[in-house]
Symmetry: C2
Subunit: 362 residues, 2 copies
């Protein structure tokens, strides 16, 4: 997508040297756009660990390029395996991280050391391109929902929660892919962006990327969405997901469930955009079976922002001695989900629907 | 209620001199407990205007004492009327502010100037005492709900939104009155405190007052309540209200409606604690008829907190150029409200219920 008129991806190989890997340092957003250069696998490890890159697909692509950097440093099998094991520990729960490394290793183990550098860059590029293609397909299928909501030219108001945009993937995003696609086609639209406490991914990342691409949007407190829906200010809600059960229950950023309840209460369609890799076929009942990460209460008790002096500072917002709890995700039951937007089309949030689209995975 | 073992109210006359008025400067909470002294009506005006005092009942009591200070400065009718007119403009929409001033003027106009100082302090004290008695009654009736939830000794988990505690009233609070009452009686309980973005009254005021009184509590992001209810972590939700329609629709801090939806979806009782003065008998359909204040987007775009250096600073949390919207309240339809806790007892959220308890007001 674009940043003030220039096309960007969230990760790319520097065309100037053909091998070093460039990323957007997302820890500095929305305050500063800085491109970081990764020149060895340890730098890729740090980028993932420190959340300079985040979002499952982007973490996977960064790990893949990290392994390409590793074999450039030393193409021997031992060194390559050690680098992959190290990269795999950069984040504890990122499924895509291990998936991307396994895919890289499968190809590289079957490649002579002398040919590994080229093969590694090829495979990492393929992982990145497949992510882009997958998200483009989600954008195309989701576009139909926005077109339908637009009807005969009325402005479409969308609502999204957290960040499921191009910054979380290699390009396009999942929940935001249909929105970018519709905006690029000239559909008149506006996005309500949930702040998404406690980590504020909506206010800091979604608002930033929509704004830089030129998409009209407004940031609201997470508390506001129900009121907006009651007053007809939301035509369509689209969110991403961290994991979807085979019956269509959706684990996503904490607070998603509350928006789904409000959407149901007000007749607002509530769609979830996911690549099929997000569907966990081993799980039926999302509420009972998907474990919810309990993160540090300090993420609730403190907020990072920019002071009036222009410094990025962390401030405390709860009294000394008051504990804070921080469940990071919640599960929206399939009954509240209008449907799933996948790379193969729209599906009801049900086992039959998902099996129909992905018979070979089910 | 208590602050670390010492009983406080939110406003009182200094016993040392018998006339100056002391308040807790709430703009410094939760970081610093500072008592401010009001010695003339202009200081009372500033205290209300700058939100050193907030919460409808406390604003009313402060205005009443402000008028007492005014007649102490000059008991002449002209001066008194001018002071009252000035005090009435301290906050634009506070009904209790004008109500308290009218009540004071009614008494003082019928009092000789020479006797006005004593009469004014008496009337202001009566207004304060009546608020305390009303909240105590709410506490007593609400206690039954908590006792019932406690059953045979299990810990009761409550959830509340915003601040409807003693800091918003003269003492006890509305939503928190039953909680303080139950805690003081030795019932094992714990309160989930919604942060309450954008102004963070939950994190900064409710958590502070519960903590200082010794009530076990945990601050959570506003997004977390649905997840907690899904997992059986909430036995009872109690909130306050800014206005209640005669049919029981509840206008309260933005986000209340989302919690009411989650409570309904999970079978959690959802109660609203209100003095009868909060019921607007002229309004039937709260959603259609109660106007919702749209406050400045800067309250969403910035947050006040304490830096690691110990300074209280305002930080920006949205990108430059991203607009923010800030509806301050929402309306929870009566169908989602288990009932109202009033100073005359529990009532269904319905016109029949409210008329039955308050026939002379209906």
């Amino acid at each position: 997508m674009q940043i003030d008129g220039t096309a960007y991806r969230s990760i790319w190989v520097d065309p100037a040297d053909g091998w070093s890997v460039l990323i957007i340092d997302q820890t500095l957003l929305p305050w500063r756009l800085e491109i970081a250069r990764l020149q060895d696998y340890e730098q890729a490890f740090v980028a993932i660990r420190s959340m300079q890159v985040r979002g499952a697909p982007l973490i996977g692509a960064t790990a893949a390029y990290g392994l390409a950097l590793a074999v450039r440093q030393d193409p021997a099998t031992d060194a390559m395996e050690r680098a992959a094991s190290h990269l795999a520990t950069a984040r504890p729960t990122a499924v895509n991280l291990r998936w991307a490394l396994e895919r890289m290793l499968t190809r590289l183990r079957n490649t002579e050391p002398a040919a590994r550098v080229q093969a590694a860059y090829e495979e990492a590029a393929a992982i990145a391109e497949e992510d882009v293609a997958c998200n483009q397909a989600i954008g195309t299928y989701g576009l139909a929902l926005i077109t339908e909501a637009a009807g005969s030219g009325k402005r479409v108001n969308l609502l999204t929660h957290c960040n499921a945009g191009w910054l979380a993937t290699v390009d396009w995003g999942t929940a935001l892919a249909p929105i970018y696609r519709a905006f690029n086609e000239g559909i008149d639209l506006h996005v309500w962006v949930d702040e998404t406490r406690p980590r504020n991914q909506g206010a800091s990342l979604t608002a930033w990327e929509l704004g830089r691409h030129g998409v009209p949007h407004t940031v609201v407190a997470d508390n506001a969405g129900g009121h907006l829906m009651q007053h007809g200010e939301v035509d369509l809600a689209i969110v991403g997901a961290d994991r979807v059960s085979r019956k269509g229950d959706v684990a996503n950023k904490i607070g998603t469930y509350l928006k789904a309840l409000a959407a149901r209460d007000n007749g607002v369609p509530f769609w979830v955009a996911v690549p099929s890799s997000t569907i966990d076929w081993s799980i039926a009942d999302g509420l009972a079976e998907i474990p919810i990460e309990e993160r540090s209460g300090s993420e609730v008790a403190t907020i990072i922002g920019r002071s009036e002096a222009g410094e990025i500072v962390r401030v405390s917002v709860v009294p000394d001695g008051s504990p804070a709890a921080n469940p990071a995700f919640d599960v929206t039951p399939a009954r509240l989900v209008s449907g799933l937007i996948t790379e193969r089309g729209l599906s009801p949030a049900s086992e039959e629907g998902l099996k129909g689209l992905f018979p070979e995975l089910a």
